[in-house]
């Protein structure tokens, strides 16, 4: 991978991932504030973070598909903007979150020199993204929690991110490549010749 310039198809497909996940983010916000909050809010609130990883999926999935520098930041940020356009309870703060989470995912692939796109690298990126998001949450929202809850929260967010974004992103890319939808991307060319 020496060509770092984004082609039109890179931009459009990254944007489509972002828009699709923007809608998912929006729906996930309702799930978070509604059922997840109601079920775990009355028992052990940090447990609600088990669903958290989906918010960080674009920061791992987009770089795996597009394989260009900036894919994690761009996609996570635009997804956050789209969810704000649809109306979330976090307003413009989702932009700062999108930027920070995307940058954390980006760092994971930067450390691989934008050359490694395997499961290990996805897990590294997912860990960074999850830890960043959990840290921001503790700072903004859960400063009042007891210390053991804070630790549990970070652990659950990171575990969820590893599962949904790290492992999920890796296998989702493979499944998409299998359908031929990624034929215009290097990530889709690992298929057998047909």
């Amino acid at each position: 991978m020496t060509n770092y310039r984004w082609r039109t198809v890179d931009i459009v497909v990254a944007s489509i991932l972002a828009v699709a996940f923007g809608v998912v983010f929006w729906a996930w916000g309702l799930l978070w504030n509604g059922p997840a909050g109601a079920i775990f809010g009355s028992t052990f609130p940090p447990a609600a973070a088990a669903i958290y990883g989906v918010w960080l999926l674009p920061a791992v999935l987009a770089p795996l598909i597009i394989r260009k520098p900036g894919a994690a930041i761009y996609t996570e940020l635009v997804a956050a903007i789209v969810s704000a356009l649809l109306g979330t309870s976090w307003g413009i703060s989702v932009l700062w979150y999108g930027l920070a989470q995307g940058a954390a995912g980006e760092l994971g692939f930067l450390l691989g020199g934008y050359r490694r796109w395997n499961l290990g690298q996805s897990l590294v990126a997912a860990t960074f993204a999850g830890a960043t998001a959990a840290g921001l949450d503790l700072f903004y929202y859960y400063g009042d929690w007891q210390f053991s809850w804070k630790i549990a929260y970070v652990a659950i967010v990171v575990a969820s991110t590893l599962l949904f974004a790290g492992v999920g992103g890796h296998f989702l890319t493979k499944a998409l490549a299998g359908t031929g939808a990624l034929d215009r991307f290097p990530s889709g060319r690992s298929r057998d010749l047909v």
């Binding site: 497909v13 699709a20 703060s93």
Partner: protein, 262 residues
């Protein structure tokens, strides 16, 4: 799942309310200043002030205060969850006990904390609804290109993808019906519900990526990546009123901090 997309309107008219028709970048800078200041405070008076201002300026965006509440229902839901979760589980339960009912012990400190978190959530969410629900996506892309020096390739690329949101809703309904026609439904089994949801979402994603790939080819066919400098067919002047809006955002941000540190 119901998506928040209305049936397509035949003609896309822009709102002509005083603040709604300001340049999108000016509106967003205003929003960023105003709500970021609210994000950094927990003071009930300061947050209350921010909310009062929000409802007061809503008509200038062409939205009635009642309409703002209606569009803000996800935020109201979020605020309610915050209050509930803190009422039950706050670590700090000092202060006067107000309610003591089984596991529910609400003290004055708990109530104060819950109130300030809920108010902050609303003070961040509701102004965003004012700005984003009155901003046309095309205008936003144009303004980002002209006033924020965002790359036109990325701004227009994202805009083209955003246009597909409306199509995704219909596509989702069709795929869901196609699953039923194939003999697949979840019944009351939550695991099957989840796998069905995931498979529907996957089908949607495959379709969207394919459509995006074809769209990218069509855009290139029209010279989108020609390398020539792209012109702007919809010039959008930055007017004095836009500066005023930005200044108002800065003043409100300062006012919130002043009230918080009084």
């Amino acid at each position: 799942m119901t998506l928040p997309t209305a049936a397509p309107r035949a003609s896309l008219q822009r709102s002509d309310a005083l603040l709604a028709r300001r340049t999108p970048v000016a509106k967003i800078v205003f929003l960023a200043l105003f709500t970021t200041s609210a994000l950094f405070t927990r003071d009930v008076a300061a947050l209350g002030f921010a909310l009062v201002v929000t409802f007061a300026v809503a008509p200038l965006f062409g939205i009635t205060p009642w309409g703002l509440l209606r569009r803000g229902w996800p935020a109201l839901l979020g605020a309610a969850t915050v209050v509930l979760s803190l009422a039950l589980f706050a670590a700090d339960r000092s202060g006067t006990v107000l309610v003591d009912f089984g596991p529910i012990v609400i003290t004055s400190t708990v109530l104060g904390n819950a109130l300030s978190l809920a108010l902050r959530l609303l003070a961040i969410a509701l102004p965003s609804i004012l700005v984003f629900s009155t901003t046309d996506p095309t205008d936003l892309a144009d303004s980002l290109i002209q006033h924020a020096r965002v790359s036109p390739r990325f701004a227009i690329g994202a805009l083209a993808a955003f246009r597909l949101v409306g199509l995704l809703g219909d596509e989702w309904r069709m795929i869901a019906m196609a699953r039923r026609a194939r003999g697949i439904d979840a019944g009351r089994n939550p695991v099957r519900w989840f796998t069905l949801f995931a498979s529907t979402a996957f089908g949607l994603l495959v379709g969207a990526i394919r459509r995006g790939t074809r769209l990218a080819v069509a855009m290139d066919a029209r010279g989108f990546d020609s390398g020539l400098p792209r012109t702007v067919a919809r010039p959008m002047p930055w007017r004095p009123a836009d500066w005023l809006l930005v200044a108002a955002g800065a003043l409100l941000a300062a006012a919130i901090q002043l009230i918080a540190h009084r």
